[in-house]
């Protein structure tokens, strides 16, 4: 690394820490860059530090240690109102005593846009969200989806240097949420704005983001594009958080390059890829396989036998739950076309999966899925 090379990132967290009581650190040693024009999502369970990170960037919290840089300038102590970041809040935080138009004009007035310019900008913003008809209504008179769009427009109308969103779709129902995800993604592509998005919903993160930073326990567990973090999780937490998994307990017996040979408690042999952090010979491991990688039928490698416990029709696919002795339940996701040959509950079946689709991680004492 050379000193001369300019930092390409628009925003940089440099060793940032945050503690409210001086003992417990909510954010631990955070290093993260956000590129200009990027859509970055902070994903993680509640209490993982993702919201605190957003709040520090917004200026509502001050880091206990480390620096936050914006365009290579330290902004740790810059007051919120000078940062010029648009923000969308979880409950929208529309001002209840102002009309929709007044809400949109608010940031323009605060940033001293020319008086003559404000009505035009407000109108264009209303057009953008297709809510011109409700300009004179109060937020309380709008539906949840309309409020959400007003909040979004309000965060964009004053041409901020970047936009922060704190679980902005959490209060909407599923259909509206999926619709808004696409709308926000489209807005991002059209405006080319830098966006930082916080959510705990992994599907939402996958749908919208250029990159996802997965938080747990105050640390970033992995950063990368959606396909990378889904297909190549760097640790068991990321693997489990990004979608569903079957976990098979096993012990490492031998290795063959990147592949490991493992043995299950019942004696069956498994072949899986080793996780980046590595596993010692004879170590307790868990082999994670996604249900869509599991298929019915015999195979030479990674073949397990059990009894079908249940077959569930889920509209776009079938789910077959198989009880494997001494290992537990295994879930397989099959295409609907497989339905005619699908065994019924109680039948004995064999299932298998490719070694490339299985990842071996160190065993955890108590794992929650």
């Amino acid at each position: 690394m050379t000193d001369a090379a300019p930092d390409p990132a628009l925003v940089r967290f440099d060793g940032v820490q945050k503690s409210y009581d001086g003992i417990l650190r909510v954010v631990k040693d955070l290093h993260l860059g956000i590129a200009e024009g990027e859509f970055l999502t902070l994903l993680g369970p509640s209490g993982s530090g993702k919201t605190t990170t957003l709040m520090m960037l917004a200026g509502f919290e001050t880091p206990t240690a480390g620096n936050i840089l914006f365009a290579r300038q330290r902004i740790n102590d810059m007051p919120t109102y000078r940062r010029n970041f648009g923000m969308v809040f979880q409950n929208y935080a529309l001002f209840p005593h102002m009309t929709v138009a007044e809400n949109l004009a608010f940031p323009l007035r605060m940033h001293r846009f020319a008086k003559s310019e404000i009505p035009g900008r407000v109108e264009r913003a209303l057009d953008m969200i297709r809510l011109g008809a409700v300009a004179d209504r109060r937020p309380a008179q709008l539906s949840g989806g309309q409020q959400q769009r007003v909040a979004l427009a309000r965060a964009l109308v004053f041409e901020p240097r970047m936009v922060l969103m704190d679980e902005p779709l959490g209060a909407l129902d599923k259909q509206l949420r999926e619709h808004m995800q696409l709308e926000i993604r489209e807005l991002h592509e059209r405006l080319g704005l830098t966006m930082l998005y916080v959510t705990h919903d992994q599907t939402e993160a996958m749908t919208m983001s250029d990159r996802i930073a997965i938080f747990d326990d105050g640390r970033i567990q992995q950063v990368g594009p959606p396909d990378r973090v889904y297909d190549h999780p760097e640790n068991a937490f990321v693997a489990r958080f990004m979608g569903e998994n079957n976990a098979l307990p096993a012990r490492v017996e031998a290795r063959d390059g990147a592949r490991l040979r493992l043995r299950c408690p019942a004696g069956s042999q498994l072949v899986a890829l080793c996780c980046p952090e590595g596993l010692p010979d004879g170590g307790d491991a868990q082999v994670l396989v996604r249900p869509e990688q599991v298929t019915l039928g015999e195979a030479t490698e990674n073949c397990l036998r059990g009894i079908v416990a249940d077959v569930i029709y889920q509209g776009d696919h079938l789910r077959v739950v198989v009880d494997v002795p001494a290992i537990g339940r295994l879930s397989a996701r099959l295409p609907k076309a497989a339905r005619p040959d699908c065994p019924s509950p109680g039948a004995e079946v064999a299932v298998h999966f490719a070694p490339e689709a299985a990842l071996a991680f160190p065993a955890e004492d108590a794992v929650e899925t």
Binding site: A58, G59, F60, P79, T80, Y81, R83, N84, F85, G86, M87, F89, Q90, N91, Y92, A93, L94, F95, P96, H97, F106, P107, M110, H111, R138, P139, A140, G144, Q147, R154, A155, F158, L164, A171
Partner: protein
């Protein structure tokens, strides 16, 4: 069974309003005696109220004392409510106990105690003394009302204002103030009503020179029951209803805004 309870409840509601309703026709009686049916109708007792010097002066005194009480109690109570909402500080519990004392101490004990102390300070028989006493009994209600408004205020609105470029002062002026204003108005109306209706403290702290309207009514009741008293009671009822409507309007406005912060 349910029907019987409903009828009973309606009778209780009638019981609640009837004595108040009855004084209306009595106040328009043309006779000297307060009885029904009235011998005829006239406005003579209202004429008496608005021409006899002592009733008018008492009304004026009530408005002056009520006005000062309202302004001072609302200012001090609003500041205190903000302070109480803002942070923990040592002794906060004790402060809350002290501020709620005037609401639980029997008014006669308060009046008698303030009389003894205020006379030592030369505050009896003065408007200053009466206003101070009324501020003391009215301010706790202002604190409660404003505190409720401040506590329901969604702090993310302030954050939103800051994120949209408002300075803390602008955020207060543009967002916090308009949202808690209904609470402050309700508190102010209540402070005015408390002072305007207050009698026991006035009995102890005022001389004839500072008689408020309730004090004048009380004196009138003990001298001679003239229908002018019924007229003054009607005037006070009308004023109370106006104050009630203002306070309800403020509350309704606040609830309507609350609807916006719902979601």
């Amino acid at each position: 069974m349910m029907m019987a309870i409903r009828i009973f409840a309606v009778l209780v509601l009638v019981f609640l309003v009837s004595p108040i309703v009855v004084i209306f026709p009595l106040s328009f009686s043309s006779g000297e005696i307060l009885t029904l049916p009235t011998p005829g109708w006239s406005l003579r007792w209202y004429e008496d109220f608005f021409t006899a010097g002592r009733w008018l002066e008492a009304t004026r005194n009530s408005f002056v004392v009520g006005g000062f009480t309202m302004v001072i109690a609302t200012t001090l109570g609003t500041l205190a409510a903000f302070g109480l909402n803002m942070a923990r500080f040592p002794g906060k519990k004790t402060v809350l106990v002290i501020l709620s004392l005037p609401m639980v101490v029997p008014v006669i004990v308060a009046a008698s105690s303030m009389y003894v102390a205020f006379s030592a300070w030369g505050l009896t028989n003065t408007f200053t003394g009466l206003v101070i006493a009324h501020v003391i009994v009215a301010a706790p209600y202002v604190v409660i009302t404003v505190l409720a408004a401040v506590q329901t205020l969604d702090m993310t609105l302030v954050r939103a204002a800051l994120s949209l470029g408002a300075t803390p002062v602008q955020a207060f002026r543009e967002v916090v103030l308009p949202l808690i204003l209904p609470g402050v108005i309700a508190g102010a109306v209540f402070a005015f009503a408390t002072s305007f209706d207050e009698l026991v403290i006035a009995i102890f702290l005022t001389g004839p020179g500072q008689f408020t309207l309730p004090r004048q009514m009380f004196a009138g009741l003990r001298e001679m029951l003239s229908p002018t008293i019924a007229a003054s009671a009607v005037i006070m009822v009308v004023l109370s209803v106006v104050l009630l409507l203002i306070s309800e309007a403020a509350r309704n406005y606040a609830t309507r805004l609350q609807g916006g912060a719902r979601q």
